[in-house]
Symmetry: C2
Subunit: 251 residues, 2 copies
């Protein structure tokens, strides 16, 4: 018996009207998903909500109660539609005000006091009790309060913030995965056999993922497990299944 | 006074482990967001959940109670990890079985009875009371039950299904939008002025969206409104604001 693997979970909360209107195509969800998988954190849920305070508060409270970490993206800039910091403070029931550390960071970018105007100082409004997350690109920091990590929506800045916070995150045993091309065999030809393989291999999660290039389907069978031996055993079983089905295929 | 615009709302529920693991990068959310905006439907919320029945049921019931339509993507193929149809039946508290109409559609694609095996017939399992949604690409249909439209995860098939269902959807007054480049002016330079413009133009939603190419930021100010006159008036105000700020900019 393998010991139960420690599992660390997370959710992503994307905040922004521009994603819901289709104007901006989100790239952060896929990036955070990749980062979490690489770190050994299970991303379990994603929500996208508009720039509406009560929606942000409700989603954040639902997610932070349920998962180990919540990563938010968007809404921490200097304009009136950037309301994430206030919403996070409200969700946690804490105050919010200009944070001296954050103001100092902004001063690095805007050494001339006239440039550090009211709008830019909005970016130094941080919920009380939060730790700052460095932003090497444009200085205005993200922050972390409780299990919630608040990051920018601009992908390169989000990535830099994630990199800054990643070493501080608790992680679990990594989910390993391997991908097996069906070799032209359609999903319908191996669906029943694959279900049998899945049943015979507890501790693994087997999925089948078709893609379509406009002409034909290609199918990838993906086996995932935290235990490398379970992964290998299930992979061998999937490959044996494919060999058998190909051999019996009407030519 | 303009009359209150009829608003029709929607949510998207993306179903699939492969999106949460990062293996597959979702393209459907952005596409559905664009379609909804073009049709005059307000996309208000998106959730992504794994291939876990209770997660799908809980998310679906939360979303369908709250929004006019719910579009789901993913999990309607022939393999064991495709559990969306069963989860939808459970959410609605109805039975599910092989649907004669769906079986007939699959027969078009698999005329040889030996090819229409158990796995493929899974794709004809439809919750009782649902209407089918045509799939011109690979025949296996989507379906619609109550206010929920269940579609494939493969983007080209999802798009074909959305096209099939779109003419039957109730739509509201379209949200119009216009985008104004800040002409190099940073967000921090116009944040306060833009907040004033927003306050002076109720009935519009004004957002500011930075993008970063690795070297410099570009900012787009987007004005949205259902009323074309309100849109135009707010746009003119934003442009006047930019002209004034550029004129006063230290050279």
């Amino acid at each position: 018996m393998t010991e139960p693997a420690p599992v660390v979970t997370a959710a992503v909360l994307v905040i922004g009207d521009e994603i819901l209107s289709g104007r901006t195509k989100d790239k952060n969800i896929g990036t955070i998903a990749d980062y979490c998988t690489a770190l050994g954190i299970d991303l379990r849920e994603v929500r996208i909500v508009p720039d509406v305070e009560e929606e942000i508060v409700a989603a954040l409270n639902a997610l932070r109660a349920r998962w180990d970490y919540v990563f938010t993206t968007g809404g921490i800039g200097p304009t009136h539609d950037d309301i994430t910091a206030d919403a996070v403070a409200k969700a946690f029931g804490v105050g919010i005000s200009h944070d001296d550390r954050a103001v100092a960071m902004l001063r690095e970018r805007f050494p001339n006091p006239a440039d550090l105007n009211e709008a830019r100082l909005r970016m130094a409004r941080i919920p009380h009790g939060a730790d700052l997350v460095d932003n090497p690109i444009s200085k205005a920091p993200g922050f972390r309060i409780g299990n919630v990590i608040v990051m920018a929506g601009v992908p390169s800045i989000m990535q830099a913030m994630f990199d800054a916070v990643a070493p501080t995150l608790r992680t679990g045993v990594k989910m390993l995965s391997t991908s097996i091309d069906s070799g032209g065999l359609p999903e319908g030809a191996y669906g029943s056999a694959l279900a049998t393989v899945q049943k015979a291999h507890p501790g693994t999660v087997i999925g089948s993922y078709p893609s379509f290039d406009g002409q034909r389907f290609r199918n990838q069978i993906v086996v995932r497990a935290r235990d490398p031996e379970l992964l290998e055993t299930a992979k061998v079983a999937v490959e044996a299944m494919l060999v058998e089905l190909h051999a019996n295929r009407p030519s």
